[in-house]
Amino acid sequence: MNKLQIFNNGVTKENPILVQQVGMCATLAITTSLLNGIGMGVAVIAVLTGSNIVISLLRKFIPDEVRIPAFIIVIAAFTTIIDLLMHAYTFELYKALGVFIPLIVVNCIILARAEAFASKNSLSDSIIDGLGMGVGYLVAMILLSSIREILGNGTILGFRILPEAYEPMMMAVQPPGAFILLGLLIGIVNYVSRSKKA
């Protein structure tokens, strides 16, 4: 696979949320506004790329028997770094994302990429893979959180885009809306990829 294919693989073909459907907790929980969605997406890109880099560099040093705990420590360290940085420099976003920042550590996609890709591939490929998967995650977050913010609030990034007369669909920003809209989004993605193949 060349670099572009690796990147593209993460964004489209194996998109973590829309295709693989892993790491759903945060996706469902914090996508109530576009800003939160972008914040979470960027945090995941940072942790995913960072841990891919370190794990790829250490792949010859870490013995096979202890690789999972070693990966978990590296991922947890990067998660804590992001946690501290966000707590210090993006305080309001930090408060909005809450417990889902430390929970990045159990986002299956990160351990899965460490195990399936970074521990077997070169540094440069692992960086591209981390960025690709991360951007794929971010794209899905942006899609879902924009839909929820527009329907549930009539705004995008806080700016009103639907007329005042629009009665916000409260359901969209409440928990049921998260499930139903993500389900529909995945349905649409399935439909599009099917019709492409056909």
Binding site: C25, P102, V105, V106, C108, A178, L181, G183, L184
Partner: protein, 191 residues
């Protein structure tokens, strides 16, 4: 808040799946049959309760004393991973029957964010020991309730005539959304 209402709140009103979304991965992945769903649910209750007790004690005795609160995430996830390994080994040796039933779910639980989520929430909400115990049991019982109910519904959904694109996780999510509407009704409970 007294303990009974804390239990009911964490069990139903703030249901971990339908209201807080913690543990959505195993919820969507495992719940295809009621038996396996119940097995997973019971394993989760077991691990969450144990993990909460241990993380609570370690946090308040070691991390706070030495001002190492920033290592919380690393320490907690390692405790959970080790605990799951340990429980697996223990069950294999001393309770093979139970191991047969729960064993296959245990490795999945390490990356179940419900476990870490509950452990962290115990700290964020500044619970006392007893409160954190009640919260952990209530929350994980809520997981069992959600996953079993969902498996029951999904059994029927499998026979439904759906557009191809909606089959699989899409319809699962929509179903979960509709069940979440029902749980939203509980938020009117006066506790």
């Amino acid at each position: 808040m007294d303990l009974v209402s804390l239990f009911i709140t964490s069990f139903i009103v703030n249901n971990i799946i339908f209201m807080q979304f913690l543990g959505a991965c195993p919820f969507l992945g495992v719940s295809k049959k009621i038996d396996t769903a119940a097995g997973m649910g019971i394993a989760v209750i077991f691990v969450i309760t144990l993990a909460s007790i241990i993380t609570f004690i370690i946090y308040h005795t070691i991390l706070v004393t030495f001002e190492l609160e920033y290592l919380q995430t690393i320490v907690f996830i390692l405790i959970i991973a080790a605990l799951v390994q340990f429980v697996e080994m223990f069950l294999k040796k001393s309770a093979p029957g139970l191991y047969q039933a729960l064993g296959i779910f245990l490795p999945l639980i390490t990356t179940n964010c419900a476990v870490l989520g509950v452990a962290i929430n115990n700290i964020i909400y500044e619970y006392e020991f007893i409160e954190s115990l009640v919260y952990s049991v209530g929350t994980s019982a809520g997981f069992l309730l959600a996953i079993v109910l969902f498996a029951g519904v999904r059994d029927k959904v499998d026979y439904a005539d759906l557009p191809d694109s909606l089959k699989g996780s899409a319809i699962s999510l929509i179903t979960a959304g509709l069940m979440s509407v029902a749980f939203l009704g509980f938020s009117g409970l006066q506790l």
